[in-house]
């Protein structure tokens, strides 16, 4: 069974469009994350939710809006896509918010903005 799943795996779209990426975890974890990995493989946290509440919000343009309908799901909506948004987006989850908790990553969504 897939622990952390993301859809879609690939997303190709035009500048200015709005798109969403969905994430689901079946591990029973309380905490979920979104990361962005750029072309140089630099991985940076964007958001973290704990039990549907936002607890980490890095310096991310407000075109990015995460939504957590329940603690098993954390979706990422991006408005007015820009070329610089092209990257691989990873969802992850952990049992709690402790810095010692292992984070489990999804397979990633490769977003290409043309």
């Amino acid at each position: 069974d897939t622990a952390v799943s993301q859809t879609p795996k690939y997303l190709v779209t035009q500048m200015g469009n709005d798109k969403s990426i969905k994430c689901e975890q079946n591990l029973g974890h309380d905490t979920m994350y979104w990361y962005k990995q750029d072309s140089k493989k630099f991985l940076k946290i964007m958001f973290s939710y704990n039990n549907k509440e936002l607890i980490i919000n890095e310096t991310v343009p407000n075109r990015f809006s995460p939504k957590s309908p329940d603690k098993a799901h954390l979706n990422l909506h991006i408005n007015s896509l820009e070329l610089g948004d092209s990257a691989v987006y990873f969802c992850a989850s952990s049992l709690r918010t402790s810095g010692s908790d292992t984070q489990y990553f999804g397979p990633g969504t490769r977003l290409t903005v043309l």
Binding site: K41, L43, A92, F105, G108
Partner: protein, 114 residues
């Protein structure tokens, strides 16, 4: 700025050889974690070492931590072609705020030639 810097950026070895990669970080930490990322996949947690530990083993992995030098190393012994991947160190910064915010290093790309 980014917490972890890793070296080398890339490492190519023959199967059966040992691979060593290093990570340096800037602020005090509670723990340091190593993750592996196979090409086109999400990250997988390998091992966590706490700030009061100096060395830790897991199978063919050996991790050391030197808090005085703010550095860690990951040794993979008797490497296999399947070990080919990018390896990242990650730390939750110990400056307060969200403790589950992992800061990732720049990564080492390991290629094990069969």
């Amino acid at each position: 700025s980014q917490q972890g810097e890793e070296d080398p950026q890339a490492l190519s070895i023959q199967e059966g050889e040992n691979a060593t990669m290093n990570c340096s970080y800037k602020t005090s930490i509670n723990n340091l974690q190593w993750y592996r990322q196979n090409s086109g996949r999400g990250l997988v947690h390998l091992i966590l070492i706490r700030s009061n530990e100096r060395e830790k083993h897991s199978g063919r992995l050996r991790v050391t931590l030197d808090t005085s030098k703010k550095s860690s190393s990951l040794l993979i012994t008797a490497s296999r072609a399947a070990d080919t991947a990018s390896y990242f160190c990650a730390t939750p910064p110990n400056y307060g705020g969200a403790t589950n915010k992992l800061i990732f290093g720049t990564g080492t790309l390991l290629a094990v030639q069969p």
